[in-house]
Symmetry: C2
Subunit: 153 residues, 2 copies
Amino acid sequence: MQKDPHISIGVVAKRTGVAVSAIRFYESIGLLPAIRGPGGRRLFARSVIRRVSFILISQQMGYTLEEIATLLDGLPQQRTPNKADWQKLSREFSADIDQRIAQLTRMKESLSSCIGCGCLSLKTCKLYNPGDNAAQQGAGPRYLLGGSPEVKQ
Amino acid sequence: MQKDPHISIGVVAKRTGVAVSAIRFYESIGLLPAIRGPGGRRLFARSVIRRVSFILISQQMGYTLEEIATLLDGLPQQRTPNKADWQKLSREFSADIDQRIAQLTRMKESLSSCIGCGCLSLKTCKLYNPGDNAAQQGAGPRYLLGGSPEVKQ
DNA sequence: ATAAAAGCTAAAGTTAACTTTAGGTCAATA
DNA sequence: TATTGACCTAAAGTTAACTTTAGCTTTTAT
């Protein structure tokens, strides 16, 4: 008899550092696959540890669980993800990290050229008006940050 | 008679692109200073527009409103913040952006050397065990991410 | 054999950051 | 002057991501 390939929720928790209640929650929203053993207990494949790690790292990157679920949909459901599967996800991630770094770099530049310069004229401020067209629309900082200027009430 | 140096909540909203209800909320938690005009309406100094911009940008950086409040405490309460005041905040910010960039860079390296490599052995994975000592403690990814391995239930 | 440890479910609670709703006041305009 | 638009307050609602509570069952260890 060889050892059971499945692990209990407690083991997943211990191995990942995530609370049992969180693992249970992840399973409940379909983020982690589990089968049930006799007595109704959750049984996880060992690969969920890697999956949980991926979730944690993605969260650190600012992804929501919903987005993470979409990312993980790229992994095969039928078989245990292999090297190539994880590499594919990894490449997508790397590209995303690069984008974030670029965004932060832009933000730093804007910061020193606007708030940093101490200019008090909003009309000439790059941070407020990244493109000159923004000024016409009377847009605020949100405009720079990707949102469209729409005011409610 | 010269023009009133104060602006209404609607103007603040329009200039910043932030909803009126949000401005009201910010004032309610002490993030934005306001006095009351006849009839009980909020009157803001023009400098709150800059303050709101700072809040938005900080939020983008991942700061909570509580942290932002602390940052803004560095600004003078008695007078309108001047060039030097904003420059000081800006410098602190730049340093923070640098740190975040460094963190992302580290993450990218870990990613390609661990998940990217497709290794399935958790024991030798850098991402799981940034320092070799982590392995002894049976720590999960949380460990890498700054948390201490503590499992409840 | 029995007691403690680990698990289970369902439902309610928590925090952040706001928005929505309801009901009323004040002020600029046709 | 009448009405519309801007504002006000207080309280409840919203979403994400979990945690806590309560009460019960199943394993595992002594």
